[in-house]
Amino acid sequence: MHTIPIKSPYHKISVNYSFDITFIQDTVSFVRVICAEEFQNSLRVQYIGDALILDSNLKALWLKGYPRIRLEIHLQELPYTEIFRPCSIVIPETFRTHMFYLVDWGHYTNLRANVQVDFLRIDSAGDSFGTYQVGGSADNAELYCRGSAIYDLSQLVTDTCRAYHWSVSDMHLQVKHFLDANLFSSGNILVSGNPFVSVNGTGTGRVIKLP
């Protein structure tokens, strides 16, 4: 195990390599690298502008037994997070912070998160086939779901939610007051919580209210 301190301030995390990332709320900020000793030094942590860049120079994995590098990232707040490579992101314990804002520019992210935030936003790219499962609570949520991405936010209690749904898969939500549903594809939005729903868009998907 190898630990790298994170210097403040930074407002963005860019993930440029395929890692298995776990975010843990803590009073100090550092990255714990969990993998075989020979690969620990392959991690590259750089600061460019206000961005913390996570990268690795690990190549030719067929020669190295396809190792997975696990990063345990300890933070006080969750910054805006951009993902450029297939990743697994887990927030196992409820992370209490102002905002959870994740943009997936790549094709695949497996997100399992538990948050308590004022504002939550998730964007996935047009070729995405990732799964994004979030629980906890958010006052306000904005979702931009594309490709065949699966958004399962049925365990996330939101007051209001604006969903832009281009995905062919169904989206699961739990909204208390107001849902602004914009449907552009064949995917449905299945919503519980009995909110007032405004439906727009040109897609064939529907908003289905669950008890």
């Binding site: 395929s18 994995l61 067929w62 037994g65 396809y66 490579r85 297939p86 790549g106 094709h107 695949y108 086939f129 490709g147 065949s148 062919v168 898969s169 594809s185």
Partner: protein, 351 residues
């Protein structure tokens, strides 16, 4: 039984396979957990020098084989089983015990796992169980006994569906083998190299062809679109078993309207569905069979994503004096499959 009877010309080879998937997309690499392990069995016959092409390809072995291997992730990608025709030839025939050559195989591959939106969404590589199987290997063989050889080879194995369904990224597998070869013929009298076999005397061919195919354009769209076209080709004799020429192809692609940028949809017109390609044609002939390599460029193309380059690689078979059947994989950007082209050609003129 005569010296040249079929069983006296048989060549058998068993080859354990070791390799790895060369991922050309990051998400393919992400799901890989292990290297590729498998085996290959080949059974063929040594050509006996009775045809012109036997001499020009240095008396190759032709036959059928089976390939089976894992694909790096048993749960998502499963296994690949290929059945193929192959041709295996030595580059030269030195008198010593070491021989260097190459082998090419064409056939069909069965993938045990393929993409399904609900059941296997993480497999974004193959959408169909039956796919095209291609393999090219460089091979070294060393004589062990009177009929036995040890062989090792390295090359590339590819499988994809020719864009019959999406997703169709295809697997490129770097494969190596170590094998044992039984060659009933190799230690016998070698065909007389000085014997002169007359080759095809045709020095030029002008032919017309019609073809069809089907294609998919997106994993989000279940539609399968037809493609129909015609072609004209002129070939000139380059060598005893090679012909070189050009082919002009015009075809209608019914998927074009769904591929043009949305901002131009309102101005779409019938001509957007028509494409024209000018290709060079290189034919390597083996009797009635020929391998065709056709690099080309689009003369007319309304889909920007297609780029400028249009390639074709295929097999042709001479049915009669005038008729020929062919199957090719058409691609753009060198190796991005567009569709599988099934064609018949009629020879208008020979000279």
């Amino acid at each position: 039984m005569s010296q040249d009877s079929a069983w006296r010309k048989i060549v058998l080879e068993v080859k354990p396979v070791w390799g790895f998937i060369a991922p050309h997309h990051d998400y393919m690499g992400y799901f890989l957990e292990k290297n590729v392990i498998g085996f290959q069995l080949d059974a063929g016959f040594k050509t006996d020098g009775s045809r012109c092409w036997h001499h020009h390809y240095n008396f190759p072995v032709t036959g059928v084989g089976i390939y089976h291997s894992s694909l790096g992730n048993d749960k998502i990608y499963g296994t690949l089983t290929g059945m193929y025709f192959y041709i295996n030839r030595d580059f030269t025939r030195p008198p010593g015990p070491v021989h260097f050559g190459n082998a090419i195989a064409f056939g069909l591959g069965y993938a045990s796992k393929w993409h399904h939106p609900q059941n296997n969404p993480l497999n974004q590589v193959l959408a169909t169980p039956i796919n095209v199987f291609l393999q090219y290997h460089l091979q070294l063989s060393v004589k062990l006994g009177s009929h036995a050889f040890a062989s090792c080879s390295a090359g590339l194995t590819h499988t994809s569906n020719g864009n019959f369904r999406e997703p169709n990224k295809g697997f490129n597998i770097v494969t190596t083998t170590l094998g044992i070869q039984y060659d009933a013929f190799r230690n016998k009298r070698f065909p007389d190299r000085r014997k002169i076999i007359p080759c095809d005397s045709v020095s030029g061919i002008l032919s017309l062809g019609v073809f069809s195919g089907t294609k998919a354009i997106s994993r989000f769209n279940n539609s399968v679109y037809p493609v129909w076209g015609i072609s004209a080709e002129q070939l000139f004799r380059l060598g005893a078993v090679t012909m070189l020429g050009t082919e002009l192809v015009v075809y209608r692609d019914w998927s074009a309207f769904d591929q043009v940028p949305p901002e131009t949809l309102n101005s779409k017109k019938e001509s957007d569905a028509w494409f024209a390609v000018l290709s060079a044609s290189l034919l390597l002939q083996m009797g009635r069979l020929a391998f065709a390599f056709q690099p080309g460029i689009y003369l007319k193309n309304s889909v920007p994503g297609n780029g400028v380059i249009s390639d074709k690689i295929g097999l042709r078979y001479q049915l009669t004096g005038h008729w020929m059947a062919s199957v090719s994989i058409k691609a753009h950007w060198l190796a991005k499959a567009d569709f599988v082209e099934w064609a018949v050609r009629y020879t208008l003129k020979k000279w």
